[in-house]
């Protein structure tokens, strides 16, 4: 079973809805499932769907790597959004977002142990049961690492794909962040991934504070991130590449330029 070719796209956000509709070279968009209601769907998404622009549903709060069972209501919401936008696929993160009754509000890394992988596989399989379309899973950016990793991040994801038949969403900005902050090697990570299972790619901007690179999605995409994208493209032709911008939205022209820069790397 294959996935459609998506092209170059941008994350749809209500703050820039009209911009997204009007930007040149937007082949597909992605919506944050947590931020939209499936009924009624925002007018802008109806407009885009009417034009035949594919809309991928992206989730951030399923906590698939959490030791506690996944909240079925969150999966159901993602499924409802996916159906409402007629999404070709949905995506989530290899992460957990809370434990012990507390919600971290953001993605936290998993220990790369067999035990954690087993839990993740169990949760992913359960979610897949309730989702109407294929699920792609994304590598996250982390500022910290668990002390007792048994597997490299690449191996961890490769085994996850093998055991759940999920797809991959590779975030090249997160690879750059981890390279800066944790000293990982993006090339080695990409070597270990089954890239034939690549569904699409995330590109985003960030900022360096001292020794740490922060994946803010509120700054311009730095050249280093496009270099990682280039490295990925030298291995595989990605079915889709999506620009994520979540805050401090620049003028339309700047977003268009970032999309053009991405397209230039992809078609190199």
């Amino acid at each position: 079973m294959g996935l459609p070719t998506l092209g170059v796209g941008i994350g749809w956000r209500s703050e820039i809805d009209l911009t997204v509709e009007r930007l040149p070279g937007v082949d597909f968009v992605e919506v944050l499932a947590e931020n939209v209601s499936p009924d009624p769907l925002p007018e802008s998404l109806r407009v885009l769907r009417g034009r035949g622009v594919p809309v991928v549903a992206h989730a951030v709060s399923l906590s698939l790597g959490g030791a506690e069972p996944v909240d079925p209501r969150r999966v159901a919401h993602l499924a409802a959004v996916a159906e409402a936008v007629d999404a070709p696929l949905v995506s989530e993160h290899v992460a957990f977002t809370g434990a012990g009754g507390l919600d971290s509000g953001h993605l936290l890394p998993l220990p790369r142990t067999r035990e954690a992988l087993d839990v993740l596989v169990r949760n992913v399989r359960a979610a897949q049961q309730d989702l109407p379309v294929p699920l792609a899973l994304e590598n996250i950016a982390a500022l910290l690492e668990w002390p007792d990793g048994e597997l490299s991040e690449g191996r961890f994801l490769a085994e996850l794909v093998e055991r759940t038949d999920c797809w991959l969403l590779v975030d090249v900005a997160n690879l750059h962040a981890n390279a800066t902050n944790l000293g990982t090697e993006p090339g080695r990570f990409l070597d270990e991934l089954p890239l034939e299972r690549l569904a699409y790619v995330h590109v985003a901007g960030g900022v360096r504070h001292g020794d740490l690179y922060h994946d803010t999605h509120a700054h311009a995409v730095p050249p280093e991130v496009l270099e990682v994208l280039g490295e990925l493209c030298s291995r595989v032709s990605p079915p889709g590449v999506l620009l994520e911008r979540d805050d401090a939205y620049p003028p339309d022209a700047e977003l268009a330029a970032e999309l053009a820069a991405i397209r230039a790397v992809v078609s190199r």
Binding site: E15, I16, L18, T19, P42, E43, A248, Y249, P250, D252
Partner: protein
């Protein structure tokens, strides 16, 4: 017992009519003069924001700034009509800076920006400068023409009222005086109710001679209806039924509330102001 003040009823009627006509003439002359202040030494230079103020007052000026910031990509409007700034760079015009600062990260719509910015220093500065350039009447001169100039007319009316009162108490024959009295009161009230157009004759000439090339100028002269992008126009426009006046008197004027004169500049300017 002779006639009051030794003037016959018919003679008083004639005198009264002449008095009223003189009173009205004084008011009209004062209003005409108020819109023709002494010419400044140098011919005034106006930019698009000044034109917006001349053509539609503070509201128009803020709306023009918003529309221009959106058109040039420094402000973004989304489908909910919410504005957000896309840049930290300080624009050249103080009103643009103010609008960008007020909007900031987002959340406000164009109406809220107008409400927040119409009473700003940037607007006051423009108003003062255009007044000094002789393109706007000074508020003091406008007040004099509107409220002080009709005093003579009221004095004539008062004399007429006294005469009528005496006529009634002495049981004199019914004359045309009550009719004339009512007519002159109506005229006096109408003259005081009609606000003076803030635009001077020189200001009107500036507006009439503007070459309306470019959307910036067209929005300044005609308001948001001149925004060429229909979607943006809709998203920046106030809710239906609250259309802003075009070339208005900037205030309590006859055009302030009516939708009828909201669409076109000329309709309001020549009709509503009076000289």
């Amino acid at each position: 017992m002779g006639e009051l003040w030794e003037i016959s009823g018919s003679a008083f009627l004639v005198l009264y009519a002449v008095g009223v006509a003189l009173g009205v003439a004084v008011v009209l002359a004062a209003r005409w003069a108020a819109r023709r202040p002494p010419k400044p030494d140098a011919p005034p230079r106006v930019d698009e924001f000044d034109l917006a103020f001349l053509a539609g007052g503070p509201d128009r000026m803020v709306r023009t700034a918003v529309a221009e910031l959106v058109r040039t990509g420094r402000l973004r409007v989304n489908r909910a009509g919410r504005l957000s700034a896309t840049t930290d760079e300080d624009p050249s015009h103080p009103l643009e800076s103010l609008v960008l600062r007020h909007v900031g990260g987002g959340g406000t719509n164009a109406q809220a920006v107008v409400r927040a910015c119409v009473a700003s220093d940037a607007i006051r500065e423009t108003s003062d400068r255009l007044t000094a350039s002789g393109l706007l009447t000074s508020p003091a001169a406008a007040k004099r023409a509107r409220w002080l100039a009709p005093l003579g007319l009221w004095a004539v009316v008062a004399v007429g009222a006294v005469r009528w009162n005496v006529d009634i108490t002495e049981g004199a024959a019914v004359s045309f005086l009550p009719l004339l009295l009512v007519g002159s009161v109506v005229a006096a009230v109408a003259l005081m109710r009609r606000p003076l157009l803030r635009l001077t004759a020189a200001g009107e000439r500036v507006l009439d001679s503007v070459d309306d090339e470019g959307e910036f100028v067209r929005v300044a002269l005609r308001g948001l209806s001149a925004v060429s992008d229909p979607e943006i126009r809709r998203l920046l426009a106030p809710p239906v039924g609250r259309a802003p006046a075009a070339r208005s008197t900037y205030g309590t004027g006859a055009c302030g509330t009516g939708a009828s004169c909201g669409a076109h500049a000329a309709g309001c300017g020549s009709g509503g102001g009076g000289s």
